[in-house]
């Protein structure tokens, strides 16, 4: 009887150990999932922030380019508006 009891304890200990192993695996799986998800979420935040900053910078470049273009238009117009008006009048009058 003592031997059977000893054998039963050996098996029960193994079952208990198996449950611990499975529980640990489940916890580890959960930890891995949380780690990967958290890393991906962090990366997502970084991607969105970088993209927004880059787009804003590109938009500011577009503004600067447009400002420069408008300044050129105004300067050209100031330089040539009299000539343009004179030519238009000549066209109308057929001079």
């Amino acid at each position: 009887m003592e031997t059977e009891g000893q054998a039963k304890r050996i098996v029960e200990d193994a079952q208990s150990r198996a449950q611990e192993i499975l529980a640990h695996a489940s916890q580890e799986a959960q930890r891995v999932r949380q780690t990967l998800t958290a890393e991906a979420e962090q990366r997502k935040v970084q991607i969105l922030r970088d993209t927004r900053e880059k787009a804003e910078a590109d938009a500011r470049s577009s503004d600067v380019e447009t400002d420069s273009l408008l300044a050129n238009y105004k300067k050209l117009f100031e330089d040539r508006k009299d000539v343009a008006a004179k030519k238009a009048v000549e066209l109308v009058l057929g001079d």
């Binding site: 499975l22 695996a25 997502k44 993209t51 577009s62 447009t66 508006k81």
Partner: protein
């Protein structure tokens, strides 16, 4: 008899240890599989998050740039329109000034002749009338 019992005792314990080893090994194998499956699924989920993030980033980029580019194009169009309107006002003023200059008659005559040529008819009589002005006849 005692030796036989000892062998039986050892056999029982040996079988129990064998079974215990099998139970633990099974658990370890299942544990390994669980971790592999879970890690693969977590990696797919993470990849999905990043794929969606890239799509969202592209939408944000397009939204920011397209609205700003549209606004800048509008600014350019408005400036061009201002320039054209300015020239038109200047031209209108200059044309208006012609009416009170000594070029008026010759200019009017040229314009009328140009109109007649455009209409392509013979023997035309043109009567030009102005408010508060005498009637004049111009022979071409």
């Amino acid at each position: 008899m005692a030796e036989s019992l000892e062998r039986l005792h050892n056999r029982i314990l040996s079988d129990a240890r064998l079974k215990a080893t099998g139970i633990v090994e099974q658990a370890e194998e299942k544990s390994r599989q669980t971790l592999e499956v879970s890690q693969a699924q977590a990696q797919r989920d993470a990849n999905d998050i990043l794929t969606r993030a890239n799509l969202e980033a592209e939408n944000i980029r397009r939204s920011i740039l397209s609205s700003r580019i549209r606004a800048n194009r509008l600014r350019i169009l408005e400036e061009k329109n201002k320039i054209v309107q300015n020239v038109l006002r200047s031209v209108e003023q200059r044309l208006s000034d012609v009416a009170s200059s000594d070029q008026f008659e010759s200019t009017l005559k040229n314009l009328v002749l140009e109109a007649i040529e455009a209409v392509r008819v013979d023997n035309v009589v043109v009567i030009v009338g102005f408010r508060n002005a005498e009637r004049k006849r111009h022979q071409s």
